[in-house]
Symmetry: C2
Subunit: 146 residues, 2 copies
DNA sequence: CTTTCTGCAAAAGCTTTGCATTACA
DNA sequence: TGTAATGCAAAGCTTTTGCAGAAAG
């Protein structure tokens, strides 16, 4: 059943991280992970509202604490867009960058291997080894331009 | 005297912006612009401390208000690194991107025309017209790797 | 003179922390 | 049974806003 194996991949990753740091898997952490994995990107507040419906006593602080854990595992990545702090789901689609419309706020994800390759070259020239990167292109989408 | 002309270029840009929006050029705005132009990137708090020495009664709110203006002219660009909000001086060196060491915090600026060209292509494919962009590469610098 | 700015202080986010209690392993 | 996690509320930061007096055009 490869489907089931795939479904639990992220949970396994979290379990590994928890075990390595002597932390515990809780009902809340699992709920937060599951809700997070369904989204492309979320704010802490958004997750809080989604989860509050199922579990009215969940705390916003727990969301923040768990999102920090997910960032440590590499599944999530913190990103600032305007005044909002978004947490990107990197597990789902792999790494992706963003095109952001400055007029309507529309966000398009994209990937480009050539750019990534050039990034590696630039880093090497400066003696750096890349761990991760963020690329955001701001402009006007087709609708807003016309 | 080309030197003087060059020195006032950014001030002219600010004056234009102010005129266009029916705003006024004040002593504080000029001071903040000058201090800002001397730096590669600063936080609002840093500018506040620098300027407090000359003018003990300057307000932090004025710094924030003026930095917002500088962003609108395009001379400054807001950037989030970790928990800090930095304001980049784009006027001085033109647009540049950043290599950031996740271990020691060292920041290296760079420019790469090929990457910029590819960005344009990606944007065009998605119907976007780019206004600006941010590229940050996070990793380990030579010292921290060894 | 009229409008905009400033500094101050208060307010408003958003995120983190302290603590008693609960849940995991 | 011993740690670690949770929820709540309070504290902490950074950034914004309201307002009366000051300054610019």
């Amino acid at each position: 059943m490869p489907t089931m194996a795939k479904a639990g991949k992220e949970l396994e990753l979290l379990k590994q991280h928890l075990a390595k740091h002597n932390l515990k898997l809780t009902r809340q952490r699992e709920q937060i992970l599951n809700a997070f994995l369904k989204m492309e990107h979320v704010t802490a507040e958004q997750l809080y509202h989604i989860l509050s419906k199922k579990d009215p006593h969940i705390g916003l602080a727990t969301i923040y604490r768990t999102l920090k854990l997910l960032c440590e595992t590499g599944m999530a990545q913190e990103r600032h867009f305007g005044s909002q702090t978004l947490f990107d789901n990197v597990a789902h689609k792999g790494h992706h960058d963003h095109l952001i419309c400055t007029s309507c706020g529309k966000i398009v994800e994209f990937q480009n291997c050539q750019i990534e390759q050039l990034q590696e070259e630039v880093a090497a020239q400066n003696g750096f080894t890349i761990q991760t990167h963020k690329l955001e292109l701001y402009g006007l989408c087709a609708k807003c331009r016309s």
